[in-house]
């Protein structure tokens, strides 16, 4: 059974929660625009600048990842906030080639094997310092700095990355 997100279907709860779906062909400018929109959207729902910046970082890095790995240039974004449960989640989806999917699986294997987010991020930074283009730094940064847990779902050539975290100051 597919675990991919269905557009316009709220996840995690039968209760209606603030959310939106976006399908677009990301460019650098559009990613920045969407990042600012997501931060503003979050602040409208829960007035918390710090969590908004964590969400913005996650959205930006996941969309850059989608651009990097997309085979057709298109990316899907889902953002969902549940102030009552204190949960925020971001999903991106794109089509990817088998080699790109393998690279992502490798990144997520490193995440799964890491003792904690800070250790992985420090390890990735050290690796990036000596090897240009080493992958996974953005994902490690999301985990460490945004404090959001990451999950990879692959169905055929579709890659979906789920980021889920706690809202710092639930209303």
């Amino acid at each position: 059974m597919s675990d991919l997100h269905k557009p316009n279907a709220a996840t995690g709860s039968a209760r209606k929660v603030p959310s939106f779906d976006l399908v677009f062909r990301p460019s650098v400018e559009l990613i920045s625009l969407v990042r600012r929109f997501v931060a503003d959207f979050y602040i409208e729902v829960v007035s918390d600048q710090d969590t908004a910046s964590r969400l913005a970082l996650t959205t930006h890095e996941l969309l850059e990842n989608a651009v990097k790995y997309s085979t057709d240039g298109e990316a899907f974004l889902h953002v969902e906030l549940d102030p009552h449960e204190g949960i925020v989640s971001v999903r991106t989806r794109n089509r990817a080639s088998p080699s790109q999917i393998e690279a992502l699986r490798g990144n997520f294997a490193e995440i799964a094997a890491a003792p904690d987010a800070s250790a992985l991020y420090a390890q990735m930074l050290r690796k990036s310092a000596v090897a240009t283009g080493s992958g996974g730094l953005g994902l490690a940064r999301i985990w460490a700095e945004s404090e959001m847990n990451l999950r990879l779902v692959v169905v055929d050539d579709q890659v979906e990355i789920h980021a889920r975290g706690r809202i710092t100051a639930p209303e």
Partner: protein, 122 residues
């Protein structure tokens, strides 16, 4: 989506006899990476020629720093760590105390800088 004007990415460099100050501002997205790389390389070479004691990088006016930009800063720190004393200079990163992500993003550099890097509020 309602377009809000993005703060343009900018790098300003000032110096005195012992210190160079790099002030970064705006949106540090992927378009900023090349300019940041070139700017840091230029400052590094000048700092070696001038026997600069410290380079200050002020990110307090940065709206966002992509991982690409973080990687460039990391590469520069690594380069400076590799310079043999006494040519090696200190690095001080300044962040806005009211913007928590800035401190979080810089914190990792302290552990990679071999005691060379300080992270302080502006």
């Amino acid at each position: 989506l309602v377009e809000k004007p993005a703060a343009p990415w900018a790098i300003a460099v000032t110096s005195d006899p012992s210190t160079v100050r790099i002030t970064l501002s705006g949106d540090g997205n992927q378009h900023a990476v090349r300019e940041l790389r070139d700017g840091l390389a230029s400052v590094h070479l000048q700092a070696l020629v001038d026997k600069t004691e410290a380079v200050i990088v002020d990110i307090s006016k940065v709206d966002f720093l992509s991982t690409g930009c973080v990687r460039e800063l990391l590469g520069w720190v690594t380069t400076v760590v590799g310079v043999a004393p006494p040519a090696r200079y200190q690095i001080r990163f300044l962040y806005h105390p009211g913007i928590p992500w800035q401190k979080r993003s810089l914190f990792a550099f302290q552990h990679l800088g071999d005691g060379l890097v300080a992270v302080e509020p502006v």
